[in-house]
């Protein structure tokens, strides 16, 4: 099988969504970590719920809705300016340490992003972090008005890049995304950022299982959906073997 393109998920895969914790901890020292985890969990929930209810809103709007939900539920006061400063981090997320080197090593093969993010915030993020010079396309689900894991989102890859799914290596560290991409027909590399062994050990050694461990338990382990990715990698740098 020829690899005609590598297509990457953005949030969690190329970009570290946990990097918002710097600003949430600065603004809310007592509850920064809790806010970071509930926010991210709820943000994805809202993409699924709105997709199922046929009531799409942009990822930016959902990110704000889920932030407001989180701050209210946790019970901290916030004003619009504070929330705007927190939201702004989504335009300046830290790339994962393996992001730039991995993309460099794949140069020559078309590289693209397929993300839930709306086009405006994706383009800004990609430019702010210098990925625009490495990517052939930044594809947003916004065009179809429904989020992953709906097939309409994954269909955008062939439409935009003109490559058949079986010739695409789709890369995600989000297990649900990796499973759905496999189910759709891509070759899939799942980036296992927290191995099962490390997860088990973290739970075993925890005196109290807190929000960060809950997040990893819920979102950073391979799903039991009967849809197995083709490759399990622990770093984006291992993708070079699939070019």
């Amino acid at each position: 099988m020829k690899t005609e393109a590598f297509v990457f998920d953005a949030y969690g895969t190329l970009y570290d969504v946990q990097s918002v914790s710097k600003i949430t901890c600065e603004k809310f020292p007592r509850h920064g970590e809790l806010i970071t985890q509930v926010w991210r969990l709820k943000q994805l929930e809202y993409t699924w719920l709105r997709s199922l209810m046929n009531s799409y809103r942009s990822f930016w709007d959902i990110t704000e809705e889920s932030l407001i939900y989180t701050l209210d539920a946790v019970g901290v006061e916030s004003d619009a300016a504070t929330r705007a400063q927190i939201m702004d981090k989504y335009l300046h997320l830290d790339p994962h340490p393996d992001c730039h080197s991995a993309l460099d090593a794949l140069a020559g093969v078309p590289l693209a992003i397929l993300s839930n993010g709306n086009q405006g915030i994706l383009d800004t993020l990609v430019e702010n972090t210098g990925l625009d010079r490495k990517l052939e396309a930044t594809i947003s689900v916004d065009k179809v008005g429904i989020f992953k894991p709906h097939a309409a989102a994954y269909e955008l890859v062939e439409e935009r890049l003109n490559v058949k799914p079986e010739n695409v290596v789709f890369v995600s560290s989000n297990a649900f995304d990796a499973c759905a991409a496999k189910n759709f027909g891509f070759r899939v590399a799942w980036i296992e950022r927290v191995t099962r062994k490390a997860m088990n050990r973290e739970v075993d050694e925890a005196e109290h299982v807190g929000p960060s461990t809950m997040f990893k338990l819920l979102r950073m382990q391979m799903e039991d959906l009967g849809m197995e990715p083709d490759y399990r990698l622990t770093s984006l740098n291992e993708l070079v073997a699939l070019r």
Copy 2:
């Protein structure tokens, strides 16, 4: 507006899904509470993901998939017999303390369940807990092969009971379900089992935010989806005012 029927969500609304913790804590003393919460969170996630991926499986199957996921991620060994004993609790969930009295007080108005559960397990649960004598219908989404919050699930009420959505009071303690039901066109009563004030206090007073508080933060607070239920009640017993 005439109330021609009360339609209830089952899991979490009439039945206490947290009542599985008795058996999970018995089987896994160190991690029973964690398993209970991750399992329920993942179970609902799977209903949403499978609905979006067009890869429906029955709620019973999803309940088992999500249990296996949870036990593996937490890192406890289990055999099929142990899992079967845990799963069996879904056929014998405890009704919430306000369940029987509330249904009795509404007698005379048609009462029904609309649930994600498949018909077989719902019928068994309803019979095991004596609700069969109080309900006119137990409606399962299984017939349409897609879970709440998809509209096709809510459409089953009119089809089965022959009442217009605006004449139905739909009752749920699951916030996403209450929002989606409102969005669909029902009159909606949300059972606020953990008030915002109690939630805020729980977080404020927690030395460590654990799995149970995480669950409440994620699933027992009103969603910020711009879809407001008509009534916020703290107990099913308050429904009598809406008959």
